[in-house]
C-alpha cells in the first residue's frame, strides 16, 4: 500500500477518534461515557481480584464466564459445543451464500471513490486499502469481545484476542470476497455465471449430505443409548453432561465431524485460548486459520471484478441509510396501494405516524394479516388433527406458540427499527410536524409495538388453540407415546395436578396462563421499544440509525456495546414488575398461606405489567422533553449552516 493511502487510513482513524472526543463536550455524551467507564472499572476490578475504585469485592462476586463454565467448555462439553457452533456456522454460511442479499463488498465512502479512483494508485493498493479500512473497527470489536469473555491472565488475554481477531478478520474478508464474487457473476456471460453458481450449490449440497448423514448417525446413537431417566438434580445434570460428551466424541470421529472440519478448524483457536493449551498447541490451532486469512486476502486483492461499481452502489446505499429502494420498485401497482389500515384525513396525527412507520415494514392490511394468522393456525393444527402428523407434533406447536408469545418483546425491538431510529434520519422533514414531544415519542413507539403485539397475539392464539384441541380430546397424545416410552420419560404430565392445585379445570389453565403473560409480554415490548428510542434520541451519535443496522464485522464492537447497555437498562426496567409479582406470591403463599388460584394469574400479570407501563409513561415524558429540546446540528444535520 502506498504511503498516501496509509496516511489516509491513519488520519481517518485519528479523525474518528477526535470526532468521538469532541462529542464528549456535550454533557449527555460525557455522562454516558462516565457511566460506561464506571461500569468497565467495576468489571475490571473483578478481573484483577481487587477493586480499582478502592474497595474489595466479596469473594463470590464474579463477572464474565464463571470458572465452572470455563472448565465445562474446555473439558467435557468442549467438543459438543464446538460441534454446535460449527453447525450454526455451516447453516449461516450456506444461507448467506444462497441468498444474495447484503453484498458487503469493499466499503468505500462515496467521497473516497470519487477521489481515489481517478488517482494514480495501483488497483492492488486500492483494494488492499479497502480491506484494511475495516481493520480499526474489527480491532475495536475484538477488544470488546475479549473484554467481555474476560480471559484469566495476560497470556490467555493475548491468546483470546488473537483468536477472535483471526475469526473476525476471516468473517470480514470472507464477506468482502463473497460481495466481489457476486459482483463478478453479474459481469460474466450468463452461461459461465450459471456454471459458477452450480459449482457452489453442488459444493454446499455435498457438505450438507455429509452433515445430514452425520446428524442421522448422532440421532441413532442418542436413541440407542438414551434410556436413562434424567432428573433435575446435580446427578441428573452430571449424567446429561456425560451423555453429551459421549455422543459428541462419537460425532466428532464420525461423518458429522468430517463434514464440519473447516468450521471446527476456524473456531479451534478460540477454544484453544479458553482451555489450558500450551503455546505449541496454540500455534498449531492458529496455523490453518492464519493461512486461510492470507489466502482470503490474496483472493480479494487479486479479484478481477470491476469492484468500483459494486462499491459505489454500496456507498450510495449507506449514504441513504434506508432500505434499498429497488426492493420497493418491483412492487406491482396494486400492491403499492395496499395500506395496513385506512387513514382518514381527520383525527389524531399520531395514527398517521404509526401508519407510515408500519408501512416501512409491511403494507398488507391488518385484517388480511389477522385472517392469514387464523388460517395459518388451522393449517398447522389440521395435519395433527387429521392424523397426517404424529400427535407429538403438538408439543412443537406449543413450544412455537410460547416462543412467539415471549421472544418478540425481548428481541424484535432490536430488529424492527421502524420508529425514531429511522425517522431521525428524516429530521428536517418530521421536526416541523405539529405534535408535542411526548406525543411524537408515543406515536413513534406505536408502529413496532403494533407489529410485535400481532406476533405475540399469534403465539397466544396458537398456544391456546393447540391446548384446547388437546383438552377437548381432538388430539390423542396417548396414541403416540412410543417415543416418550422408549426414552423412559412420562411426556409433559403434571398439568392435571397443576390445574387441580390452582383450582381450575385443565381446559382453563393454559388460557389463564396466557392471559397472565399477555399484559407482561406487551409491557416488556413497550419498555424495550421505549428504551431503544430513548437511546436513539439521547445519543443519536452513538446508536446506529436507519432500517439497515450495519452487520459487518467492523461494526460488531459498536453494536455489542449498544446491545449490552440497552440489555442492562431493560433488566433494571423489568425489576419493579418482577418484584411486585414475587412480593405478591411470597405474601400470599408463605405469609398469609392462602393457596394460589388460577383466576388470580391474569391479575398478577396486570400487577406486574403496571409498574413497567408506568416506566414507559416516564420514558415517553423524558423522550418527549428530549425531542422538544433536541439540537441535532452536530449529529444529524452536520455540514450545512
Amino acid at each position: 500500500m502506498t504511503r498516501a493511502l496509509l496516511f489516509l487510513l491513519v488520519r481517518s482513524v485519528r479523525g474518528r477518534i477526535v470526532q468521538a472526543l469532541r462529542r464528549l463536550r456535550e454533557p449527555r455524551y460525557l455522562i454516558g461515557s462516565l457511566i460506561g467507564l464506571g461500569w468497565v472499572a467495576f468489571w475490571l476490578s473483578s478481573v484483577f481480584g481487587r477493586s480499582m475504585v478502592g474497595f474489595d469485592l466479596p469473594g463470590d462476586v464474579q463477572f464474565g464466564l464463571p470458572s465452572e463454565t470455563l472448565e465445562l467448555i474446555s473439558g467435557p462439553l468442549g467438543r459438543a459445543l464446538q460441534l454446535g457452533i460449527a453447525l450454526l456456522l455451516a447453516t449461516g454460511l450456506t444461507l448467506w451464500w444462497l441468498v444474495p442479499l447484503g453484498r458487503n463488498a469493499l466499503q468505500f465512502s462515496e467521497s473516497e471513490l470519487h477521489l481515489l479512483l481517478p488517482a494514480p494508485v495501483s488497483r492492488r493498493c486500492l483494494i488492499q486499502y479497502g480491506v484494511l479500512r475495516s481493520q480499526p473497527g474489527v480491532l475495536f470489536g475484538v477488544a470488546i469481545v475479549t473484554f467481555f469473555t474476560r480471559p484469566r491472565g495476560f497470556m490467555a488475554t493475548v491468546a483470546t484476542f488473537a483468536a477472535v481477531w483471526i475469526f473476525m478478520s476471516l468473517w470480514d474478508l470472507h464477506s468482502k470476497g463473497r460481495g466481489l464474487w457476486l459482483a463478478r457473476l453479474a459481469e460474466m456471460p450468463l452461461g459461465a455465471a450459471w456454471r459458477q453458481r452450480l459449482l457452489l450449490w453442488a459444493s454446499l449440497l455435498a457438505m450438507w449430505v455429509l452433515v445430514v448423514a452425520g446428524l442421522n448417525a448422532v440421532l441413532a446413537d442418542v436413541l440407542a443409548t438414551g434410556t436413562a431417566t434424567v432428573t433435575l438434580s446435580k446427578d441428573g445434570l452430571d449424567t446429561l453432561v456425560h451423555m453429551a460428551s459421549l455422543h459428541a466424541d462419537n460425532a466428532w470421529a464420525g461423518p458429522l465431524g468430517w463434514a464440519l472440519t473447516p468450521f471446527l478448524v476456524l473456531i479451534a483457536p478460540i477454544f484453544a485460548g479458553i482451555g489450558s493449551s500450551t503455546p505449541v498447541q496454540l500455534l498449531v490451532a492458529w496455523a490453518i486459520p492464519s493461512l486461510l486469512l492470507l489466502a482470503h486476502n490474496e483472493w480479494i486483492v487479486r479479484a478481477q471484478v470491476r469492484f468500483e461499481e459494486a462499491a459505489l452502489e454500496h456507498a450510495r446505499r449507506r449514504s441513504r441509510e434506508t432500505d434499498p429502494a429497488a426492493r420497493l420498485w418491483r412492487r406491482s401497482q396494486r400492491r403499492r396501494q395496499w395500506r395496513p389500515f385506512p387513514l382518514t384525513s381527520r383525527g389524531t396525527p399520531e395514527l398517521a405516524i404509526a401508519w407510515k412507520n408500519v408501512m416501512l415494514v409491511q403494507r398488507l392490511p391488518f385484517k388480511t394479516l389477522f385472517a392469514a394468522g387464523i388460517a395459518l393456525i388451522v393449517l398447522l393444527i389440521a395435519p395433527v388433527l387429521s392424523g397426517l402428523l404424529p400427535a407429538r407434533w403438538v408439543h412443537v406447536l406449543q413450544v412455537g406458540g410460547a416462543a412467539l408469545m415471549l421472544m418478540p418483546p425481548l428481541f424484535s425491538p432490536r430488529t424492527l427499527r421502524n420508529d425514531l431510529r429511522s425517522d431521525l434520519l428524516k429530521f428536517e422533514m418530521i421536526r416541523p410536524w405539529p405534535l408535542s414531544g411526548a406525543r411524537m415519542f408515543l406515536a413513534q413507539v406505536a408502529a413496532p409495538f403494533l407489529l410485535i403485539a400481532m406476533r405475540v397475539g399469534f403465539g397466544a392464539l396458537l398456544l391456546v388453540g393447540v391446548d384446547t384441541a388437546l383438552e377437548l380430546g381432538l388430539i390423542d397424545l396417548a396414541a403416540d407415546a412410543g417415543l416418550a416410552e422408549s426414552w423412559g420419560l412420562s411426556g409433559v404430565g403434571g398439568k392435571v395436578e397443576l390445574a387441580a392445585w390452582l383450582g381450575v379445570s385443565p381446559l382453563l389453565l393454559t388460557p389463564l396462563v396466557v392471559l397472565a403473560l399477555l399484559p407482561l409480554s406487551l409491557a416488556v415490548a413497550l419498555l424495550s421499544i421505549g428504551l431503544e428510542n430513548l437511546a436513539a434520541l439521547t445519543f443519536p451519535g452513538w446508536v446506529p440509525l436507519g432500517m439497515n443496522r450495519r452487520q459487518a464485522a467492523s461494526q460488531l464492537g459498536h453494536n455489542l456495546l449498544v446491545f449490552m447497555a440497552l440489555s442492562i437498562a431493560l433488566l433494571f426496567g423489568l425489576a419493579p414488575g418482577a418484584l411486585i409479582i414475587s412480593a405478591t406470591l411470597v405474601t400470599q403463599l408463605w405469609i398469609w398461606e392462602i393457596p394460589l388460584n388460577a383466576w388470580e394469574l391474569p391479575l398478577l400479570g396486570i400487577a406486574g405489567a403496571l409498574p413497567i407501563l408506568a416506566e414507559v409513561v416516564a420514558i415517553a415524558g423524558v423522550g418527549g422533553s428530549l425531542w422538544d429540546r433536541l439540537d441535532p446540528s452536530e449529529e444529524l444535520l452536520a455540514g450545512s449552516i
Binding site: T322, D323, A325, L328, W329, Q337, G347, M429, P432, D628
Partner: protein, 262 residues
C-alpha cells in the same frame, strides 16, 4: 395586530398582519456563531428573499424559523405563537421545504399527501391533494416511490405536501434547485399565489434573478449578521456607490464585500 418594523421605518401605516417575527436570533454551534442577533418581521402577503454567501447562516436561520433547531437565544413568533412556548400551535401554521428533498422512501407520492393530510387535519384533503398533484404534474406518478422520481419531481412533491394545509407561513430553502425551466416558472407562480392568498413567505436562494423577480423585500446576511434589508430600491439607496439601476447580483457582491473584481 403588530406592525412590521420595516413598515414603520418606511412610514407605512396601513393594516398589516405580521406572521413572522424574529427578534435578536442567535444560534451558536460548537466553535462558531452561525446567526448573530438577526431581527426581521414578515407580514402576510409578503415574500422575503434571504440571500448571502455560502456559510452566511441562511439555512440555520430557516431551520430555526421552522423549529428544526432550537436557537441559542432570541425569539421567534409564527402567526402570533412563540415557537419555543407554543411550538405545536406555531407549527400548525407553517410549512418548510428543505433544500434536500428527504422523502420517505417506502411511501408513494399519494401516501405522502395522505400522511400530511392527517398530520395537519386537512378537511376535503383528497380533492386538494389531487389538485396539487395535477398542478405539479405528479398525478400520473402518484403510485411511484421517491426513488423512482427525479430530484425536481421530489422537490415538487415536497412543495405539494407543504401547501396541502394552506400554511400561513411558508419557508423555502433553495426551492428551484433541480427544476426544469417550466417547473421553475410554475413554482414561482405557486410561491407568488401563496403569498397573494395572505401567507408570509421566506425564500432562501442563490438564484438572485429568482429573488429579484418574486421577492418584495430582500434580506442580505453575511457571517450570520444582517448586512442590508429592504426593497430593491431601498437597498440601492442604502449601499453606497451603486448605480440607480444596479441589479441584485451587483448589490449582493457589494454588500457582502465579495466584489473583488477591479
Amino acid at each position: 395586530m403588530p406592525v412590521p418594523r420595516h413598515c414603520l421605518s418606511s412610514g407605512y401605516h396601513g393594516p398589516v398582519n405580521v406572521l413572522i417575527q424574529i427578534d435578536e436570533l442567535v444560534k451558536d454551534y460548537a466553535e462558531r456563531r452561525a446567526v448573530d442577533g438577526l431581527s426581521v418581521d414578515v407580514a402576510g402577503g409578503e415574500i422575503l428573499g434571504l440571500v448571502g454567501p455560502n456559510g452566511a447562516g441562511k439555512t440555520t436561520t430557516l431551520r430555526c424559523l421552522a423549529g428544526i433547531v432550537p436557537p441559542t437565544s432570541g425569539r421567534i413568533r409564527i402567526a402570533g405563537h412563540d415557537l419555543s412556548e407554543e411550538p405545536v400551535q406555531a407549527r400548525r401554521k407553517l410549512a418548510f421545504v428543505p433544500d434536500e428533498p428527504h422523502l420517505f422512501d417506502h411511501l408513494t407520492v399519494a401516501d405522502h399527501l395522505e400522511l400530511f393530510a392527517r398530520l395537519y387535519n386537512v378537511a376535503e384533503s383528497a380533492l386538494l391533494a389531487e389538485q396539487l398533484l395535477r398542478d405539479n404534474e405528479l398525478w400520473d406518478r402518484r403510485h411511484a416511490f421517491p426513488g423512482e422520481l427525479s430530484r425536481g419531481m421530489k422537490q415538487k412533491l415536497l412543495l405539494s405536501c407543504a401547501l396541502l394545509h394552506s400554511p400561513k407561513v411558508l419557508i423555502l430553502d433553495e426551492p428551484l434547485t433541480g427544476l426544469d425551466p417550466s417547473a421553475m416558472r410554475r413554482t414561482k407562480r405557486t410561491i407568488s399565489a401563496t403569498a397573494a392568498a395572505g401567507a408570509a413567505v421566506v425564500v432562501s436562494s442563490h438564484m438572485l434573478h429568482l429573488v429579484e423577480e418574486i421577492c418584495g423585500r430582500i434580506l442580505i446576511i453575511n457571517n450570520g449578521r444582517r448586512t442590508v434589508a429592504g426593497t430593491l430600491d431601498e437597498i440601492r439607496a442604502a449601499v453606497p456607490d451603486l448605480s440607480g439601476n444596479a441589479g441584485l447580483e451587483e448589490i449582493f457582491l457589494r454588500a457582502t464585500g465579495l466584489d473583488d473584481e477591479p
